[in-house]
Structures are given as C-alpha cells and as structure tokens.
C-alpha cells in the first residue's frame, strides 16, 4: 500500500516552482522594450498532499483545508499551489511619445511557491 501511495505521489509531483521564460522578442514587443529581451517569470504547479510537509510552505489555513479535504473531499478542495514570494523586475522601454522610461514592476518573478 505504501509503495502504491509512493508511486501515486511520484506521478503527481508536489507543489514547486517551474521555469517559464517570457520572451518579448517572440511576441513582437522588442520594438519598444529596450531591455530585458525577456525574463524568467517561473510558475507554480504541483500537488498539496495530506499531510502538508514543511517545505510546502503552507499556511495554517491551508493545513486545516487539507485536513478537511482528506477527511471529506466534498466539503473542501485541496489547498492550491500558488506563488508565495514574488520579486520585481526593471524594464527599460519607450512610451507612446518616444520618451525613454525605466520602471520597476512589482511581483513579476516567482521566487517561491507554497500551498495556500
């Protein structure tokens, strides 16, 4: 039984960060975005299985929701794998009037994922 559970877990990997490269050139935005040419945004995907382990960075609420789900799945779904820590990036671009702008955009890159 434990072996079967392990295999199941192996099929559905736990919540973690995956690479997602956003290429401004491929969407034709390089005509006005000077830098960067693209950036690694990342995304979060994976299971939040019961019991939630420490590295899944779960909140107390997520632990309770997972407990309820494991007892009766119809009452509440599993906790979701979402970005828990995000960082900004700087972008250098030209606006409608050809003015050069350097701007910091918040929450553009996933730094960490967790079950929430």
């Amino acid at each position: 039984s434990r072996e079967r559970n392990n295999r199941k877990r192996r099929l559905k990997p736990n919540c973690r960060r995956h690479p997602l490269y956003v290429d401004f050139t491929s969407v034709g935005w390089n005509s006005w975005i000077v830098a960067p040419a693209g950036y690694q945004a990342y995304y979060c995907q994976g299971e939040c299985p019961f019991p939630l382990v420490d590295h899944l960075n779960a909140t107390n609420h997520a632990i309770v929701q997972t407990l309820v789900n494991s007892a009766s799945p119809q009452l509440a779904p599993k906790a979701c794998c979402v970005p828990t820590d995000l960082s900004p990036i700087s972008m250098l671009y030209l606006d409608e009037s050809d003015a050069v702008i350097l701007k910091n955009y918040q929450d553009m890159v996933v730094e960490g994922c967790g079950c929430r």
Binding site: S90, M91, L92, V100, I101, L102, K103
Partner: protein
C-alpha cells in the same frame, strides 16, 4: 454525411469555414484582450510604436544595468543626492533642438547663456515627482588644461589664478516669462554649482521646482536657461559645456550620435504608487 449528397457536404464545408473563421476571430479577440491586459499592467493604453530608431541615453542604460544587477531586496533608484527612495519610474527627456538645427551657433543663446525647452507633458498625472535633475556634460579642453598644468608649476599666486580660471559657475534658471528682448526675461534661479572643467563629467542640477510648475500648468513651461560664468561672476563662454549642438569648420552640424551621447538631459524620478512599501503590515 449519413444522408450523403453534394449539398450536405457543401453545407458542412460552409459550416467548417464559418467555424474556422469564428475560431480565428475569437483567437484574435483573445490575443487582443491578452495584450490589452498586459499593457494595462504596464500602465500603457496601447502598444507604443516608436517613430524613430531606438536610441537610449547611456545614463538610462547605466541605471537599468545597476537595477538589473542589484540584489532583489534593494531594488530602488538610489541616486546619490536625490530623494528617490520611493520612486519606481525614471523618465528621460531631451530638449527640443529644432531651433539649434536651423541656426546652431545663435539659437536661444547669447554666448554665456542658453535656453533649453523640454516637453515633459507625457508624465502621468497621478505619479508623484520625487526628484528631477538636469544633466549637463562638461568636457575637458586639453589645450587649456595643459597650459594651466604648466602654470601650476609657477608661483603660488599663478597656481591659484589658474585654478580659478578652470572653475566656472553654472546657474540654472527657470524662465517664468519670456520676452523678445532677452534682457527683460523674467526668471528664477533654481540651482547653481561651481564646476571644475579639468574633469570630463556629467553635472547634475536640481530642476524639480520647474518640473512641478510645468506639471501644474503646462502653459507655464517656457524652458530653462543655463548660464555659465567665470569664477569672478563675469559671463563666460560655455565651450566646455555641451549645451548646444556644435558646428564643424565646414558649417555642418556635428555628428548625430556624438551629440546624442553628450546633449543635455532631464531625468525625472516618480512614484506611481504601485511600489511595495518596506514598512508594511507584517504577517503573523
């Protein structure tokens, strides 16, 4: 298809085409909506279509590289001497040099002062201006430097005199009321600095008061005047300061690229309110 017949096949074909067309249209709509969402996120109404070859001032590139290479936690525009702690947007503006192109040696200039006009109306109204600087490039003149270096080997008095000669006072005025006669112009001094012309440097002048006025009332934007005086306060030529586009011996305008690299630049630092505050509420 079960009924068979050409008519039905034709109808099916037509339905398929319509389906494809609808799919294509809806795909376009999705892409448009997607792009609209992204542009909205970037604070733009539509995709900018630059009208010229992309040229970016070196200062902006340096600021970008500094940001890109800095650790994530310290991402802000910490420009020395400028209160840019809360700023998250930097814009650069070049002055209108159409007048210079027509008559580069005389345009807006009386030898020791030069008028510069900047269009800063593209700054978003809801952004808070935290700092604004006028950046002027001061180049060295080797002929002067060499002579003065020799002078410094002479007596102490000569040295003092030579050093004084190498120092220029640069006054930056906001033009409040332009009058055809340049003597009657109404202006206010917004920054002043003594610049040593032995070093090739970019000098920064605070022009925030002028930009604040121009944002409040765009019609009040009559530009700024840069005045160069010698150490004794007498009018001095601004050969070392790259304020106007120079002319070659043949009477042609200097190379566009070189002028672009050294021409005056206004840099504004604004806060659009989207910046995360460092001292926010802490999570339990």
């Amino acid at each position: 298809c079960t009924y068979g017949g050409r008519t039905q096949r034709k109808k099916d074909q037509q339905t398929d085409d319509e389906g494809q067309s609808l799919k294509h249209k809806s795909r376009e709509a999705v892409i448009k909506a997607f792009e609209h969402n992204l542009l909205n996120m970037f604070g733009l109404k539509e995709k900018p279509k630059p009208s010229r070859r992309i040229q970016v001032p070196q200062y902006m590139l340096d600021l970008y590289n500094e940001q890109a290479n800095s650790p994530v936690s310290s991402m802000n525009f910490n420009v020395r001497g400028k209160s840019t702690r809360t700023a998250n947007t930097v814009r650069s503006f070049h002055h209108h040099d159409h007048d210079d192109e027509k008559n580069p040696s005389a345009a807006n200039s009386n030898g020791h002062s030069h008028k510069l006009t900047f269009n800063v109306s593209t700054m978003a109204e809801d952004e808070v201006l935290t700092a604004a600087e006028l950046r002027l490039f001061c180049k060295t003149q080797h002929s002067i430097s060499k002579r003065d270096v020799t002078d410094t080997r002479d007596t102490e008095n000569t040295t003092q005199h030579s050093i004084q000669k190498l120092k220029h006072r640069v006054n930056v005025y906001q033009i409040l009321k332009p009058v055809s006669n340049s003597k009657d112009i109404i202006k206010r001094l917004i920054d002043t600095k003594i610049v040593d012309v032995r070093n090739a440097t970019w000098e920064s002048f605070d022009v925030r008061p002028a930009i604040l006025d121009w944002r409040r009332s765009p019609r009040a934007n009559h530009g700024i005047e840069v005045e160069v005086l010698d150490s004794r306060g007498r009018p001095s030529g601004h050969r070392n300061f790259r304020i106007a586009r120079s002319v070659t011996e043949q009477g042609d305008l200097e190379d566009e690229t070189r002028w672009f690299e050294e021409r005056p630049l206004i840099v504004t630092y604004t806060d659009d309110g989207r910046q995360k505050r460092a001292a926010g509420r802490s999570t339990s």
